[in-house]
């Protein structure tokens, strides 16, 4: 088993790592880069706690190898706040109580980020459908859906830009 040179960007910062091909992206982010905001929970493509954006699309980082990130741009929950200022999505999840224990929250927020980056309107039903790959065992989801809608409002006040 040969290690494979992998070059990619995480939250705008370039990295070059020699990776064992069998290692999952979530472990590379957490163990090699210390970005423990991305959670590993079910480890079986069900719960979505490990959701990150790869080239702008939300994916489950427990179901993608680290070496597959070669040449790609990755955004994790750590990349959302700018200069200590929380992203509107993060503010909204606090404001509308979109979390209780908080374990699923990084995944919920990254999927919501992908959703809102599509720059269109979502009905409550569509928000629920888009979040169907992310499991929360505390909130009952009501607060999460409210948070996404509130974040959309906050962002449109700022001109609607996801950044």
């Amino acid at each position: 088993m040969k290690k494979v040179k992998t070059t990619f960007k995480v939250n705008g910062k370039p990295f070059e790592l020699e990776l064992e091909p069998r290692r999952l992206l979530v472990s590379v982010l957490r163990e090699d880069l210390g970005l423990t905001g991305t959670h590993n929970a079910c480890d079986s493509t069900n719960c979505g706690a490990c959701t990150v954006l790869v080239d702008g699309k939300a994916v489950k980082s427990c179901t993608m190898f680290g070496v597959q990130a070669n040449g790609k741009e990755i955004l994790t929950i750590e990349g959302l706040a700018k200069d200590g200022d929380l992203h509107p999505l993060q503010k909204a999840f606090i404001e509308k109580q979109g979390l209780q224990c908080g374990f699923c929250t990084p995944g919920m927020i990254m999927t919501s980020y992908w959703m809102l980056s599509q720059n269109r309107d979502f009905s409550d039903e569509e928000i629920k459908r888009m979040l169907s790959g992310n499991l929360c065992r505390c909130t009952g989801y009501y607060g999460i859906v409210e948070s996404v809608k509130y974040a959309k409002n906050l962002m449109s006040k700022k001109g609607g830009d996801i950044e």
């Binding site: 088993m1 091909p21 999952l24 179901t63 597959q68 169907s132 790959g133």
Partner: protein, 318 residues
């Protein structure tokens, strides 16, 4: 006593940290990431049979992590952009094998031409999985609960298969052999799916029931119905998901529909014939008995929806 308490806390923390650091990962393999199809075919020929192709990885990676599969080599073809496309020709819809199920779900041309593909794609796993999972992967993995195999059989699709220096075409009907087993040889790659586009008089639909939002199909039914000038059915194809080792056709049910209108009594008898053609097994998702019950309803729904689309298609175009 206090010593003991400290010791217990200490040990349980150690155990907790140990479990917390334990993640599933596959047995070691060699990794290859060809940049184009020619390179991939070359690799597959030299690497030999103990090789798996990674198309989207949403079935393969879980299987590797569970170590139910442990190939020596993994050929990652996700970077081959030339195999991701949706093209319409005069009488054919051509889909590149590496097109993600999410791309199919959100394609407006597909939604207008073949809504069956939209409804199939949008019910596969969840949106995050659909961002990586590919239609070719869904077909070649050939799990009994995968949806596209039955849909492709119902649509009478054909598959273009390439190996080094050679391409061949296989009909969906003869592509699926058994559970996880297809007509693909170890050095071959599915490159394109071709779905014949007919005039307005054809409609198709897929109906399934799954366990939870991201769960596997309990059962599914795909149908394609053609109608004659008098609006009676002239041709019908039915293929069923998760009720046999491969997509199951229902030939008796198909014949029984020809020349008729799908009224309640006709639909009931078709459902019965289709269920008789199925071979469901009991597993962790559902019992065989439950699968049969659900299947009858799904066949009725799929045939009825296909028929409506066939009739409405002509109406809208006239």
């Amino acid at each position: 006593m206090e010593m003991h308490a400290h010791l217990i806390v200490f040990i349980s923390r150690k155990i907790f940290l140990f479990i917390g650091s334990f993640v599933m990962f596959p047995r070691p393999f060699d990794y290859f990431s060809p940049k184009n199809l020619a390179e991939a075919l070359e690799l597959l020929q030299t690497l030999g049979a103990d090789t798996k192709i990674l198309a989207g990885g949403q079935s393969l990676i879980p299987a590797l992590k569970l170590r139910t599969l442990s190939p020596k080599n993994v050929v990652d073809i996700t970077g081959i952009k030339e195999l991701s496309y949706i093209r319409k020709t005069e009488n054919m819809l051509k889909i590149g094998a590496l097109t993600t199920t999410g791309a199919i779900e959100n394609d407006s041309e597909i939604a207008a031409l073949l809504p069956i593909l939209t409804e199939t794609a949008s019910e596969i796993a969840d949106p995050l999985v659909r961002n990586l999972g590919t239609v070719g992967g869904d077909i070649c993995h050939a799990a009994p609960a995968n949806d596209f195999p039955a849909v492709m059989v119902a649509l009478n699709a054909s598959f273009t298969i390439a190996s080094k220096g050679r391409t061949r075409t296989v009909q969906a009907d003869s592509f699926f052999i058994n559970k996880f087993k297809t007509a693909l040889k170890p050095d071959e790659v599915l490159t394109e799916i071709q779905i014949p586009l007919k005039e307005c008089e054809v409609g198709s639909a897929y109906r399934k029931v799954k366990k939870g939002s991201g769960g596997f199909a309990i059962a599914g039914a795909a149908a394609q119905v053609s109608v004659a000038d008098d609006n009676a059915v002239s041709e019908c194809r039915i293929a069923m998901t998760a009720v046999g080792p491969k997509p199951m056709r229902a030939p008796e049910a198909e014949k029984a529909l020809v020349g008729k209108n799908p009224e309640a009594a006709v639909l009931n008898s078709i459902a019965k014939l289709a269920v008789e053609a199925s071979e469901p097994v009991s597993d962790v998702t559902a019992s065989a008995e439950y699968r049969r019950k659900v299947l009858g309803i799904l066949v009725k729904d799929a045939v009825e929806a296909s028929y409506k689309r066939a009739v409405m298609g002509c109406y809208e175009k006239s």
